[in-house]
Amino acid sequence: MSEETKDVVATSPQEHPLLEVVAVRHGMFGTQGSGDTSGYGGLVAPVVLPGPSERPYGGWFDEVVDILAELLEESGTGYAQAVEYVVVDRGELTLSLHREHLVEVCKHLRDDPDLRFELSLGVSGVHYPLDAGRELHAVYHLTSVTHGRRLRLEVAVSEADPHLPSTTSVYPANDWHERETFDFFGIVFDGHPGLARIEMPDDWVGHPQRKDYPLGGIPVEYKGATVPPADERRQYR
C-alpha cells in the first residue's frame, strides 16, 4: 500500500465530502470469509478516487477552464455555482458539475469557438454506493474535433433523487446513451424526448448495473445447494 493510502486512513472520509469513496478494504490480501491468518485482518482502508486538483492544471486545461469560467460569469450563472471542482488525473480533465447548470455548461462547451466540443461520445453511469448522497454519477465524454481535445463532465446525484436534466437538446447524440444510463442505473433524465428502457425489456424491474442489484445464484441438483451469485463468491477483491 502506498503513502497516499495511509494518509487517507488517517483522515476520515467525512472530512472530504467531495471525494468519492469507492470501496473500503479490510485486511491486506483481498480474501474474505476464510479467517485472518496474516495478522493484517483488522486493517480498514477506504479507497477514494483522485480528488480536486489545484491550478495550474497544465497544458490547455487552464485555458478551457478560464474561458468556461468567463462565459459562466457573463451569463450570470457564476463559475462556482456551476462547476463543483476540477480533477486532472492521468492527463485527463474532468469537470465535476452541479446538475442545475449541466445543460448550460454543455451549451457553452459546444458553442464557444475557443472551446468547440462539438462531438459528444455519450454518457456513461457509475454507481458508488458508499458515496453518501452522491451515489449515482453520470459521466459525459466530450470531444473537440476542431481543437483535438477531450474532456469529461461528471455529475453526481443521490439515489433518493436521481434526476438530471437531459442534454439531448445540446447533443442529440446523447439520446440513446441517456436511455441506456436510465436503463442500467435508474438516473432519470428530465426533458428527454422518450426515456424508455433500451437494452432491458420494457417491463423489467430494477437497474442491473447498480452495485446492489441482486445477481441471483444458480441452483444445482445436489441437496438443494446453490452456486452463489458472482458478487458473493469467495474471491480476491
Binding site: A23, G30, P50, H141, W176
Partner: protein, 449 residues
C-alpha cells in the same frame, strides 16, 4: 436500493393496442396484405422488420410506419442481444476482461481488446513501457481486422441487395485474413490476444511471410470486388443518393467512422489522437463528399487499401524487431503463462510448464498468484478511444484499486450510429431502408453488449 426484484419478462402487453385492428404478416403475398389493409380501412400501416429478419444485419428490430412504399417514420429497437458483458467484467480480473470485451463487436473483436488494454495501461500508468514490438503487433492485428470487418460490410451489404456473388467474394477475401489472425492468436474470432501490458505471445515463425502472401491474394479479391460493384448500374441505382446523412447531422448525432468521413470530414482517431504508434506510419484518411450509401462503400474500400499500406509498413518493422519482448518488463503485470503452437493448434508451452513445475517454485507461486488474483490497478477513471472499423470506440474504465474493473463502459460506434436510422430512412422507400441500415454497418453484438 434493495427493493429491486428482477424477474423474467412477460409477453408484450396488448392492453394499449386493444381495439386497434391488427393483422400479422410473416412474408407471403403482399397483395393479400394490402387487400386486408384496405378492408380494415386503416391507413396507418406499421411494419415490424426484425429482429429475426435476414436483412437487418443481426437482431435489429425496425419499426416502420409506411404509406404505400414510402417510409413515413422509422424507429430502431435494440436490446435483443444484450448479454450484460459490461456487468460481467466487474466480476473478472483485469486480464480476464479482454476475453469478455472481445465478444462485444464480434466482427471486429481486436479493437475492443486494444481499446480496453490501452485504457488499463493508462490506469496503471505503464503506457510508455509497452514495448515497440507489442505495439507493432497490435497495429498489425487491428489493421487486418479492419480489412476483415470492411469485407463483411461489403459482403453482407451486397447480400442484402440480393447480390450473392458479392457476398461469396467478400467472405472469401475475409477468410484469407482470418487465416493470419488464426495463425497469430489461435482463433479466427474472439481472440483475447491483446492483453494489458502487451500481447499474449509473440508471432509464430513465418508470420510476416505468410501475411505478405495473403496480402497479395487479398489485393486480387479487392480488385475483383471493385470490378463487380462500382460500375454496376443496379448497384449504383440502389446505393447512390440513398441514406443521405450530411456532416451537420453526423456531428449532432455523434456519428463517426466511415459515415462521417463520407461527408468529407477526415476525422480519424489514428490521426487526431494517435495510439500504439500510429503517428509513425504513413497513411491517408480517405474521404468522400456525397454522404450517401455509395460514398460509404467507396470510403471503406479506400480504407482497406490504406490498411494494406499500414500492414506492409508494420511487417517490415516486425521483421526488424524480431526477438524483442512483447510484454511490459514489470513482472507484477506481465501475464506469466506462455503458449506455443503445435500440430493441433495453440496449447501450453512445454518449456514454461517445465520451468514452473520442475525447477522454480517461486515461478510457480508467481504464476499462480497472478493468474488467480491478478494485479491491482490504482483507483481512478480513464477514457480511451480507438478508431474502430465502424467509428470511434470509447472505453470508460473506473478502478477502485482492486483486481477487477469497478466499471467498464464501452461506447460502441454501432450503438451510436444506429441512432441515425430514422434520419436516413424517413421519406425514402421501404427497399432503401435495407440499404441505409447496411451502410451504417451495425454489429448488434457491439450495440447491445
Amino acid at each position: 436500493m434493495s427493493t429491486q426484484n428482477p424477474h423474467a419478462t412477460r409477453p408484450v402487453a396488448d392492453d394499449e393496442a386493444f381495439g386497434v385492428p391488427t393483422f400479422e404478416a410473416n412474408g407471403g403475398d403482399w397483395s393479400e396484405i394490402a387487400a386486408e389493409a384496405a378492408r380494415l380501412g386503416e391507413e396507418r400501416i406499421v411494419v415490424n422488420m426484425g429482429p429475426q429478419h435476414p436483412s437487418t444485419h443481426g437482431v435489429l428490430r425496425l419499426m416502420l410506419e409506411i404509406d404505400g412504399e414510402t417510409v413515413t417514420e422509422a424507429r430502431a429497437g435494440i436490446g435483443y442481444l444484450h448479454t450484460g458483458i459490461e456487468k460481467n467484467m466487474e466480476y473478472r480480473s483485469w486480464t480476464q476482461g479482454v476475453t469478455y470485451c472481445t465478444r462485444m463487436d464480434y466482427v471486429a473483436p481486436l479493437f475492443q481488446e486494444a481499446g480496453y488494454c490501452l485504457a488499463v495501461e493508462k490506469l496503471l500508468g505503464v503506457t510508455d513501457q509497452v514495448t515497440e514490438r507489442a505495439s507493432q503487433i497490435r497495429v498489425l492485428m487491428m489493421e487486418l481486422n479492419r480489412i476483415a470487418s470492411h469485407l463483411v460490410f461489403v459482403a453482407t451489404g451486397g447480400n442484402e441487395l440480393g447480390a450473392t456473388t458479392i457476398m461469396i467474394l467478400g467472405f472469401q477475401a475475409r477468410e484469407e485474413l482470418l487465416e493470419v489472425l488464426e495463425m497469430v492468436s489461435g482463433l479466427r474470432m474472439n481472440h483475447a490476444y491483446i492483453r494489458p501490458g502487451g500481447v499474449a505471445q509473440d508471432l509464430p515463425p513465418g508470420t510476416t511471410a505468410f501475411t505478405r502472401e495473403k496480402l497479395g491474394k487479398l489485393r486480387g479479391h479487392l480488385h475483383q470486388l471493385e470490378d463487380l460493384m462500382l460500375e454496376n448500374p443496379i448497384f449504383k441505382l440502389r446505393m447512390q443518393g440513398v441514406g443521405y446523412l450530411p456532416l451537420a447531422a453526423c456531428m449532432a448525432l455523434g456519428v463517426t467512422g466511415p459515415l462521417l468521413r463520407a461527408t468529407g470530414l477526415p476525422y480519424d482517431v489514428r490521426k487526431s489522437d494517435p495510439y500504439s504508434g500510429y503517428e509513425t506510419y504513413d497513411f491517408d484518411i480517405p474521404t468522400a463528399t456525397e454522404a450517401d450509401s455509395y460514398a460509404r462503400v467507396i470510403v471503406r474500400l479506400e480504407e482497406m487499401y490504406q490498411s494494406i499500406r499500414i500492414v506492409e509498413q508494420v511487417l517490415d518493422r516486425l521483421d526488424a524487431s524480431a526477438g524483442q519482448p512483447v510484454m511490459v518488463a514489470d513482472k507484477k503485470i506481465a501475464w506469466p503463462a506462455q503458449l506455443a503452437v503445435s500440430g493441433d493448434g495453440m496449447g501450453n508451452s512445454a518449456e514454461h510448464i517445465k520451468e514452473i513445475m520442475g525447477t522454480s517454485m517461486e515461478a510457480l507461486i508467481h504464476h499462480f498468484k497472478l493468474v488467480t488474483e491478478g494485479f491491482r490497478v490504482p483507483a481512478g477513471q480513464v477514457f480511451q478511444t480507438v478508431e474502430h472499423a465502424r467509428g470511434e470506440l470509447g472505453v470508460h474504465l473506473v478502478s477502485d484499486g482492486g483486481t477487477k474493473p469497478y466499471r467498464a463502459h464501452f461506447r460502441d460506434p454501432s450503438f451510436n450510429n444506429l441512432q441515425a436510422t430514422s434520419v436516413m430512412c424517413e421519406g425514402g422507400q421501404v427497399a432503401d431502408v435495407v440499404v441505409s441500415v447496411a451502410s451504417i454497418d451495425p454489429v448488434l453484438g457491439g450495440v447491445d453488449r
